[in-house]
Symmetry: C2
């Protein structure tokens, strides 16, 4: 049988190390085997229906998306239980959402009475039911209701709105997930969970059933995931990881690299790569060169990467691997994953949700 070797893949290419990814999926699934809560992986990280199905097969109870366009891609791939952890605003998107609810069990975050009214009208018009979580601001100060009273009042409005089904609440402690010191991260996360469970308790006290309490990210999966009352965790990056998250959390392995070719050697201390800003993001720092000692990424221009060579001598034509600093935004630059087992290519998977930010 002819096989394609990893180093035969043309560059720049986004590689998944399958053994490591499968380890990550399994490790996260084992954690939730021991918890009352479950995993609802955030697929904004990989935007790939193949990977979402793998996460579901490992036991996840549904998936999370950031945008309606991503949810449409996942629904088209046969996935049913989808949370859009975001407000859907504007008549076009609300109509699409209401129609999507006829094809899958879509759930969406809300924070305002006005939005609830719009969603209800659209669902009635489409003849569908939209499942609703109230987003609670748990300290990130981005989106969500600001008090338990507001949550109760909004839930009452949802309960009396035809076409909507109130499912519970969510809160994202995005300000906590990347705090480097575990103790500090734990404190920040616990504080957020207190706010979230405070909102739940107010709802319960008002006689409102709360089936879902959704929270968490990769950096806080085990803190939020074992917090009493939290029912599901929206971790995303754990499946592939990146250099930034690995600096915070060692529970999961680096399974994502960029394969790139050295295209020029302007001088003894510099190598030029064929992957620049359009193939790798750097808002969380430079990508991390692996497998080449004595060299590091010094700079990215638009179409080129720049290696500073302290004690390395890669030749033009040689291929190198780099760990992205931020997996979510780097993957969003690519159309496909090259899934590699050891040094052999095993599959090519479409990043079908790439660019679906609307």
């Amino acid at each position: 049988m002819p096989e394609i070797r990893k180093l035969d893949i043309d560059t720049p290419a986004l590689l998944i190390d399958l053994d490591r990814m499968e380890h990550n999926i399994k490790k996260m699934a084992s954690f939730f085997d021991m918890q009352f809560s479950n995993l609802r992986p955030h697929t904004k990280t990989h935007k790939c229906p193949v990977l979402a199905h793998k996460q579901l097969q490992a036991g996840a109870q549904g998936i999370t998306c950031a945008k309606l366009g991503e949810a449409e891609v996942m629904a088209a791939a046969g996935i049913r239980d989808i949370l859009i952890a975001n407000q859907i605003v504007g008549p076009d998107k609300i109509a699409r959402l209401a129609n999507l609810a006829r094809h899958c069990d879509i759930m969406v975050a809300v924070e305002s009475r006005h939005n609830v009214a719009d969603l209800s009208m659209a669902a009635r018009h489409a003849g569908s039911t939209i499942r609703i979580l109230i987003e609670v601001d748990v300290g990130m100060h981005r989106c969500g209701v600001k008090s338990p009273e507001e949550a109760v009042s909004l839930a009452q409005k949802i309960l009396e709105s035809p076409g909507l089904q109130f499912e519970g609440i969510m809160g994202y402690e995005g300000h906590a997930v990347m705090i480097p010191e575990l103790d500090d991260r734990r404190q920040a996360c616990l504080k957020s969970m207190q706010v979230l469970i405070g909102a739940r308790d107010a709802l319960l006290k008002s006689g409102i059933e709360v089936k879902i309490v959704s929270a968490g990210g990769t950096g806080t999966y085990n803190i939020a995931g074992s917090y009493p009352g939290v029912t599901e965790i929206q971790a995303g990056s754990y499946i592939l990881m990146d250099a930034k998250y690995r600096s915070v959390l060692q529970d999961f392995e680096s399974a994502l690299t960029i394969l790139s070719t050295v295209t020029s050697r302007p001088d003894k201390e510099t190598a030029i790569l064929d992957a620049g800003m359009k193939a790798m993001t750097f808002e969380f720092g430079m990508p991390e060169l692996v497998g080449v000692a004595g060299a590091a990424v010094s700079f990215l221009s638009e179409e080129h990467g720049h290696l500073y060579l302290e004690d390395a001598d890669p030749q033009v034509g040689e291929k190198v691997e780099l760990i992205p600093s931020h997996c979510c935004t780097t993957i969003n630059l690519h159309d496909r994953f090259y899934a590699v087992r050891g040094d052999r290519l095993e599959a090519v998977w479409s990043v079908a949700g790439r660019g679906k930010f609307a």
Copy 2:
């Protein structure tokens, strides 16, 4: 006739103001009407065959691409005279390049004898002719030969290589194009052009014909474009511009914006937008909010933009426009342009070269 208004376009969306873009195309074409040199617009900026054709119709003599994949897209759209202003390295890409040369007049930059040998062998194998420019390092210290002697020796090698046609030289003064002060920018550019013309003169002195001397970018189009001996300019951003380039150069108008919707108002001083890092880049600074006084982009998270409202009160559902800080990388996040005339949508154009970094 039903018409679609600009504010009816769903968001996030990448808008082109057609009147302004046409002004930019015309203004650049008028400049070159008065010069010995001509324009070879760099299409890495827009990656859109429709726009490349508009530039050619306005008088440009060919186009520039950064990557082979972009050139394939442009050739498929019927464009013939294409320069890849980059080294093409590795057997897969060199074979694709040699095959592409059977369908269009492809030209590529080289800097090494080894690469010339590979290109020659591939062209012979494909039965095609690849046009060659020698890249000269004009001070950016990224790619290119380092001396006139090296250029002469490499040109001699190209001239005796079957399947290759030596056309001339190129140099990109990327270190100069964004220098804020015009005088400093001019000095840096002139220094680079001296290096480039020095290489040309050495070639001429060796009896080697130099048809093309290619250089320049948007920030130096008129400096390099009027430098004696330079035959063509690779400016790209001028067609749409961005906030960063507008801070350096006012010759061209801002024709590119992101249309985005306010999705949340967490407090009096903050508005949340539906466009974040996945719709707008920020390596050159935050996008610039237009048409809303007393507010500015303070922060981008992955899926959200954050506005700081000093003295503005945009409502949830309201649409706002932002000028990207860096057009090239922002466009690369989008699948299509919405081309708007005044407040009406006139066309939707595919960013067909998006993600074609291989």
